[in-house]
């Protein structure tokens, strides 16, 4: 009785919800991967983005809506490296989706394709909430998008071979456009090289490695810990000895600590979009980097 009820309900719901066109269902954990998928797959996929750029990707709850969306996902595109440790595995488990789990073609972790920075030599919570596999904020080095885009396109081809030519041509177009853009960004960002700045969270290591900015202090006393007044005071003392040009935070972060530092150290506060969609001009991946570099340059020259 119970079984036939379930079967009936199932068939009914399947009939109601079966999509007419068989576009690939993509579940992107962060907006940057949704944007990259869009660059590579355009309208061949339906993309759902689990978080927006104004949310801290570490602190996401396994909301019912996310579980429901993950249920139908054929491809999950996430950062990996334990960034989504506290919510993605739970969502995938609860969703009863078997196509998009670890080890399946439908499970894509961008961090697998880049060289990780800051892999901790030892893991101890006394040192903060470290990620064992390294700093997961890999997307602010534009060069990282080459291997990730290539791997993601290969994954799209594997899951949707009918559109192989389409994905490959999109990959080529993206790679070319991206190369041109990188040349432009590197030229624009040349004055940033060696410029000292203060970061609120250890989120810009890949950007530092790429553009040569010099991060002289972090406002979080330990990764993932809220900045405390005592630590901020230490930072102020440090900045008196070796001044910084600006204090940088991501749009989703608590504005108080960086404002506090900006006022006392008399340096501008620069708010970076961090991901696609946080600001007016960061509508896509190109806009994200255009805006990021423009904001850093503005911050550097404003004092």
């Amino acid at each position: 009785m119970k079984k036939s009820f379930f079967t009936l309900m199932y068939l009914l719901l399947m009939a109601l919800t079966e999509p007419v066109h068989a576009a690939l269902e993509v579940f992107a954990c962060e907006p940057e991967w949704a944007a990259l998928t869009k660059e590579l797959a355009a309208n061949k996929v339906n993309i759902y983005t689990a978080t927006n750029a104004l949310q801290d990707p570490h602190f996401v709850e396994a909301r019912p809506s996310l579980i429901a969306k993950a249920r139908r996902a054929q491809l999950v595109v996430c950062t990996g490296a334990e960034l989504e440790l506290a919510w993605l595995p739970l969502i995938l488990r609860e969703s009863g989706n078997v196509n998009a789990t670890l080890g399946k073609p439908g499970y894509f972790e961008a961090s697998t394709y880049v060289h990780m920075l800051e892999t901790p030599a030892r893991l101890d919570r006394a040192l903060g909430d470290l990620h064992a596999l390294g700093n997961p904020h890999i997307h602010l080095d534009a060069h990282n998008f080459f291997p990730i885009a290539k791997a993601l396109a290969a994954r799209l081809v594997e899951l949707d071979p009918a559109n192989t030519a389409f994905y490959l041509s999109r990959l080529q177009a993206f790679t070319q456009g991206w190369q041109t853009a990188i040349t432009r960004w590197e030229k624009q960002a040349a004055p940033l090289k060696g410029q000292p700045y203060v970061a609120q969270h250890q989120a810009y290591s890949y950007m530092n490695a790429w553009l040569g900015l010099k991060q002289v202090a972090v406002l979080e006393p330990k990764p993932g810990m809220e900045p405390s007044v005592s630590h901020l005071s230490q930072v102020i003392v440090q900045l008196q000895q070796s001044p910084a040009k600006m204090v940088v935070r991501s749009a989703y972060q608590n504005p108080k600590p960086s404002k506090w530092i900006a006022e006392r150290a008399h340096i501008p506060e620069v708010i970076l979009p961090f991901s696609v969609g946080a600001t007016e001009s960061s509508k896509d991946l190109f806009g994200l980097f255009d805006d990021t570099i423009a904001r850093l340059l503005a911050g550097m020259t404003s004092n």
Binding site: Y10, H58, L133
Partner: protein, 459 residues
């Protein structure tokens, strides 16, 4: 440095030994050669020492910048594959929860809630300082088909209990999840939440009296998630009736069953909600309650025995709000649950006089918790129970209290501070009017610390 000083010593020794022998015989040319060699040696060591000094400076600088993190060398092997160096690499994710309280109660907490003397009163309070349950949790995938999870509760009086020990399937697909073993029932919202994740020190009164804090089951659970954009989950559980109101019978077949449905969604970026209904039923056999007050006013109460059916229906609702959905900064959670239980059967008064007995009891709570700034939260909870009016068989009319005419209530405020995701300190104040004539002001201080594996962020 030892290597450099060693070879430096050797070189010096060579020079020193060769010099006295050759000093007189040495020609100008030889002298030049020797001087040249010494000069080269000197330069070489100076260069090395400068290099060393530079490296030292660099090391210190990077340590200052980030004391905890070493700049990774570009990995030689495939990135992100940590070396599975030993058998321990397959060890389950382990975590340990440490909790303790300081409590200040004016009244004896063991006095049962008025009208609920036949329900559990497992309040968990201890006056003064006390260690609370220590929870050890082990979680891992068993193989590609199964996942296992065990939560062992080490009680402060040296007992070890199996709180949860279950296996989940991971490959059924199509939205199906099967679970078997011992688990917290999925009914309601709060039932499956472990004590360390509660927003208050204690459970709502309705959970204490209706589910002995949490309904635990030995059995199976099947859940199915609909392939819709709205979260729709249907589920069923069958089990032996392990915990109250089940009576843990030694019997083939089913001891209890649960049906539940949950629906949830987001409203914009900032709000999300989850609502559910649940049904529970079990057959109670020889359920004995002691110290139950009666109409005769027997000192210390009497012992009654109940045999019959217990059916419970519940509704639950949770609404969460965080600006832009960014829960780290500020968020607000409103939750409420209502349960109604109907019991129907035979009550044996004082273990001697059996006659029919039926009663419908209900209870609800409503609570709000506000994280008003990162790390700081405040909460308010209101509890209310209704003991109902019992239909008592003729023989027991003069014995059993059918209507207590009292509404147990409690109001609780809570304030907590979480230095990190892994630690929390809480202060709680409750005005407890759950026992007639025993109004109590209860004060609690609590710590909850979590060691080991990072917990999940459940909704």
């Amino acid at each position: 440095m030892a290597i450099y000083s060693g070879s430096l010593k050797q070189a010096m020794l060579c020079v020193a030994l060769s010099m006295p022998l050759n000093v007189y015989a040495a020609s100008d040319e030889d002298l030049r050669d020797i001087r040249e060699q010494i000069k080269q040696l000197k330069e070489s060591y100076e260069r090395r020492i400068t290099q060393l000094e530079q490296r030292l400076q660099q090391a210190e600088a990077s340590r200052q910048a980030e004391a905890t993190i070493v700049q990774a060398q570009p990995p030689a092997q495939q990135p992100n594959r940590s070396a599975a160096s030993s058998v321990s690499a397959y060890n389950p994710a382990t975590s340990l929860i440490l909790t303790g309280t300081y409590e200040n109660l004016k009244q004896n907490p063991d006095v049962p809630i008025t009208g609920f003397a036949m329900a559990p009163n497992n309040h968990g309070y201890t006056k003064g300082f006390s260690l609370q349950e220590t929870e050890l949790s082990l979680i891992a995938n068993i193989d590609p088909q199964f996942r296992g999870e065990a939560k062992l509760a080490l009680s402060p009086d040296n007992g070890l209990g199996v709180e949860n020990a279950y296996v989940q399937t991971t490959t059924l697909g199509d939205g199906f999840n099967l679970m078997f073993g011992r688990f917290f029932s999925h009914l309601g919202y709060l039932n499956e939440v472990h004590a360390h994740a509660w927003d208050f020190v204690d459970q709502p009164l309705v959970y204490r009296t209706f589910w002995n804090n949490q309904l635990s089951e030995d059995g199976m659970q099947l859940r199915w998630l609909a392939p819709t954009d709205t979260f729709i989950e249907l589920g069923a559980e069958i089990g032996r009736g392990l915990s109250y109101p089940g009576t843990n019978r030694q019997k083939n077949g089913l001891g209890s069953s649960v049906l539940f449905a949950h629906v949830g969604s987001d409203v914009g970026d900032s709000s999300s909600w989850l609502a559910g209904i649940s049904l529970h039923q079990t057959k109670r056999e020889n359920a004995q309650s002691d110290a139950v007050p009666d109409l005769l006013g027997t000192a210390g109460g009497v012992s009654n025995l109940f045999n019959g059916n217990s059916k419970t229906a519940g509704v639950d609702f949770v609404w969460k709000y965080a600006p832009n959905g960014n829960i780290r900064l500020t968020n607000f959670k409103l939750q409420g649950e209502y349960f109604q239980r109907r019991e129907n059967g035979t009550l044996t008064y004082n273990l001697t006089t059996p006659d029919s007995y039926s009663v419908a009891q209900s209870g609800w709570y409503l609570q709000g918790v506000h994280q008003f700034r990162p790390r700081w939260r405040a909460g308010l909870r209101y509890d209310r129970l209704n003991s109902g009016i019992a239909q008592v068989g003729f023989l027991n009319v003069p014995n059993i209290i059918s209507n207590y005419g009292y509404t147990p209530t409690r109001t609780t405020i809570m304030f907590d501070y979480s230095p990190s995701e892994f630690s929390r300190m809480r202060m709680q104040l409750a005005q407890d009017n759950s026992r007639q004539g025993l109004a109590d002001t209860q004060f609690f201080m609590q710590y909850i610390m979590s060691l080991g594996a990072h917990g999940v962020h459940k909704f």
